[in-house]
Symmetry: C2
Subunit: 245 residues, 2 copies
């Protein structure tokens, strides 16, 4: 892990860009580093870190400045400047075509789109976690929140360092991931946009039902995919504060 830039932001939060092998990432740590901070991994949507920076940084800086958490993100495989792979490009093109034509998005396409992304990215998040937890200013336990919900499901199911997860039920989920969801037992905070134009409401409710966790909360809000209300940021932070302190 190599830090490539560093700046102190006006809220006192320290923002550092880094690379982990060929993967770019960003780490935000609180102004006061009196004690090591619990960490929240913020997984981006598959649109590239540069494109989603304002949203990611807004969340990370809120967690750091208001709650004293560290927060970090890395670029997903196939996003941003990272190399594409042919099968993923094909799946994305097929998805676009199906959605523009108003056709149902079948299981096969969802699998082609999501499963390789899960396979590739989960070990990368775990490697990032190894590196981040070796820094003196960061300590476990670790929270995760994201983006592509299937990555969160797999990570929550396999990595015991992650003790709480905030998930957004806003992306297509392969049927196979429902079975993995039953293996997840950590506390969950799940966001659902009630009228998400790219996501089936009943499937999202079924997924919430499938999680094996004893403590799970669903926050459903009226509105489309990008309409998550601003007040959910603090609700999510409070969820992490209950479990990472």
């Amino acid at each position: 892990m190599h830090f490539t830039s560093e700046q102190r932001l006006d809220d006192g939060v320290l923002e550092r860009e880094f690379t982990l092998g060929e993967i770019p990432g960003i780490l935000w740590t609180p102004a006061s580093a009196a004690a090591p901070a619990p960490l929240i991994l913020i997984s981006p949507p598959p649109l590239g870190l540069r494109k989603t920076y304002p949203r990611l940084a807004g969340r990370a800086r809120y967690y750091a400045a208001e709650y004293g958490f560290a927060a970090a993100t890395i670029e997903l495989p196939g996003s941003g400047e990272r190399p594409r792979w042919a099968a993923a490009e094909q799946a994305r093109a097929d998805l676009r075509r199906a959605m523009e034509a108003g056709e149902p998005v079948g299981d096969e396409l969802v699998n082609a789109l999501i499963l390789p992304l899960v396979e590739k990215s989960v070990p990368e998040w775990q490697a990032a976690l190894d590196a981040l937890l070796s820094l003196p200013e960061i300590v476990g336990p670790v929270g995760y929140e994201g983006g592509v919900i299937s990555i969160g499901i797999r990570l929550a199911a396999v990595d015991p360092r992650i003790v709480a997860a905030g998930l957004f039920a806003g992306s297509l989920v392969p049927t196979a991931m429902f079975e993995e969801a039953r293996q997840v037992t950590i506390p969950l905070h799940v966001l659902l946009q009630w009228d998400d134009e790219g996501n089936d409401r009943q499937a999202a409710l079924d997924l919430f039902d499938a999680f094996g966790s004893k403590e799970k909360t669903l926050h459903a809000n009226l509105g489309g995919h990008t309409g998550v209300p601003q007040f959910e940021l603090d609700a999510g932070a409070r969820f992490f504060a209950r479990h990472l302190r």
Copy 2:
């Protein structure tokens, strides 16, 4: 409205019992009465104020001590020491029998149980609101939370003084109330217990869907009817703080 008792509690909150005609009630106001406080009406479940006092007082004192709200409740018709009426007693007995026998609770029974309660209690809550808002220490806007969700639906639909409502999707809802729910346009915060043994999950989700409000949030938590997690108290208070300040 006549105050019948008054005590200063150890958190500084002033608790006063009152009667409004023949209806008993309780008012809690914050320790510091520097400025008039916004009001939250807390509607009890139909079990009597005495039986539910610990829960009601716990919520009211939290709102008053932590957020500076006033809070008030009144006894529902047919509950506590208030006179029973034969039709309601019959409906309650029929409900008990149906539930013990594991039979479905039909529309006719739900109507017999809930609609007269709504008809009788909504004007009483409005009369209580008249009286409470005439006190110098209380001011609008007003929030409502409760108990029997159909009472909240009707009240939110007809009384413009109520600007935000926290509802618990935990009681049987007559089909007719779904139509009234479409008339509700104020911000809503709806609690749902995912495994509520006395309430159908799909009906609760359908009701949430039916509300006409542009801002509505559903908080669904794992567990049975009485298992609402402690952290939802503060989440509800923050909802009211957004809309009553």
